[in-house]
């Protein structure tokens, strides 16, 4: 599996904790990245459409809002994908630490 792009990973991480609707995802991604990744609505929904197609996320109706907003949540497949990506990043970090330490020594 190839690496997931940063915005998509942030979207998935945003949904890892709880189901969120579109605007909440945008704000969460911006907050998690410290304002570095600011997605437009078109970009966000392009990513959500592909994640839905690949069954990494699913749509759920939020009953606690007056307008019954649609929210998104991770599926078990999506959660496995995120975990695999985090493991991959951990391996790279570990390798980077070793290499940098070897260079300094």
């Amino acid at each position: 599996m190839e690496p997931i792009s940063e915005p998509v990973l942030l979207i998935l991480l945003s949904l890892a904790g709880q189901p969120r609707h579109g605007y909440a995802i945008l704000k969460d991604v911006e907050e998690m990245s410290g304002g570095r990744v600011v997605l437009s609505t078109g970009t966000l929904y392009g990513a959500l459409r592909r994640l839905l197609e690949d069954r990494w996320i699913e749509r759920v109706k939020q009953s606690d809002t007056a307008r019954g907003k649609v929210a998104y949540r991770l599926t078990s497949g999506g959660r496995s994908g995120v975990e695999a990506e985090v493991d991959r990043m951990k391996r790279i970090t570990r390798l980077a630490k070793l290499r940098v330490a070897a260079k300094e020594a």
């Binding site: 190839e2 792009s5 078109g42 459409r49 994908g81």
Partner: protein, 176 residues
Amino acid sequence: MERLFALCLRFYPAGYRELFCDEMLDVYCEGLQAAVACGRIAEARFVSREVLGALFGACREHSRVHLGDGFLEIFSVRRFAMRSANKFPISALVFMILSLLAVVYTIAQAEALSLSIRQDNPILELRPVHFVLPGGLLIMWLIAGILGIAGWAIAAALRRSGAERLSRTETWSSAK
């Protein structure tokens, strides 16, 4: 401003509009409210980012529907996030400049040749093309420069919107 964004959403394919456009408009309105509270500049930045993002998204969806997922990769505007395999090589730039110089030289030679031919056949009435080289070149470079700056501005705005960073989204298909 809401109407402008709604207009942009009309460019999406029908199936996509049916599924997402109401939600997208809601998200836009919420974002716009927050941007308006931050001042005029924040509002202008928000609207331009959203409009460009929506238009780019519409192009992407149409190309996906009609031409498949890989089509946009051919016309990648992600200069800032290109993979090494797709980077624009310097050698290509050199060849493009050489080609342009060759074309300009050929035009100049053709012009000189057409001027040197005597126009003594009254039936044909051949008229030489008056291509004023310095002025014509200047205008050509000016147009190329303006188009280049406009293209760069669009690419920069798309980069800001995060659109170009979706370059690796096709990785999901391998996880199916």
